[in-house]
């Protein structure tokens, strides 16, 4: 078999494992055995360890790829964003796309290996970067209350996380929390932070 064909097969198997792990972790959490991931991916159990020597390596790789996707989406969004409302809507849209996995990340952070925890912190910092660049502009224009940026950011994130972490009280099991509450969360948050006569 030509080397290039072998490499393509290897890359395909790796991709299958990553995609299966993403689905399994999203649905069952990070304590799931690797045999379940292998079954979902349709590969031999040993094949997982050819690509990822340990479960932690797989988790680190997955969280890192997830971070790259979120980062790229947020960057594209901030570049063309003309208002805070559009940026926040975009943030919610990105989270909705990855809702199940993101909810696992914030609810099972303590189960993640150190490097994946760090990656999660870097992901939030990337979001904070785009959030702050838009919100500081709004504060300067006098449309948003002059509160510390970290309070504004943490309030926004805290609101979203509260709904995600208590999803069983807010929606049916298969329903997207973000999709259901997007409009309400957005309008309430904007209302809380806007300056009278602004936004």
């Amino acid at each position: 078999m030509a080397d290039s064909t072998r490499q393509i097969q290897k890359a395909n198997t790796r991709k299958k494992i990553m995609e299966a792990a993403y689905r399994v972790f999203s649905e069952q959490g990070f304590s799931v055995p690797t045999s379940v991931i292998a079954k979902e991916a349709g590969v031999a159990h040993g094949s997982i360890f050819t690509h990822f020597p340990t479960l932690n390596d797989l988790l680190i790789c997955l969280v890192s790829e997830f971070g790259n996707n979120i980062g790229a989406s947020m960057h594209g969004l901030a570049a063309k964003c003309d208002s805070l409302e559009n940026l926040l809507t975009g943030h919610l849209n990105v989270l909705e796309q990855y809702e199940a996995f993101y909810t696992r990340l914030i609810s099972e952070t303590s189960k993640l290996p150190g490097e994946a925890k760090n990656t999660l912190a870097v992901i939030q910092s990337t979001v904070a970067f785009h959030f702050s660049s838009v919100i500081e502009r709004e504060i300067e224009k006098g449309t948003v209350k002059n509160l510390p940026v970290h309070i504004l950011f943490n309030t926004w994130l805290g609101l979203i996380h509260y709904y995600l972490l208590n999803r069983e009280f807010f929606a049916d099991s298969n329903e997207s929390i973000i999709r259901r509450y997007k409009a309400e969360l957005l309008s309430a948050y904007i209302c809380l932070i806007k300056k009278e006569g602004g936004v």
Binding site: N118, A121, Q124, S125, A128, F129, V149, H150, I151
Partner: protein, 81 residues
């Protein structure tokens, strides 16, 4: 598309590049006022303060996140060997 070697930011528009120079490998946020790239110490301090300001973290925790951001970037890899 180029990515800043010092912070990883995608550089699409000419205004993203240091001194508006698209031949540079680092972005406007990683440049000193004279256009040169910030040092490791300057960048780490700036990132740490940025995290404190935008997320309200404790300074030590923010410093660790800043290091983790920098660890994988081409400009700073050698500082973590």
């Amino acid at each position: 598309m180029k990515k800043c070697i010092a912070c990883g930011m995608p550089m699409e528009d000419i205004s993203d590049f240091a001194a508006g120079d698209p031949t540079k490998d680092y972005c406007i946020h990683c440049a000193r006022p004279d256009g040169e790239m910030q040092s490791f110490t300057e960048k780490k301090e700036n990132l740490t303060q940025f995290i404190v300001r935008t997320q309200g973290f404790d300074e030590n925790a923010a410093g660790k996140i800043a290091e983790n951001m920098m660890r994988k970037l081409p400009a700073w890899e050698k500082y973590f060997d």
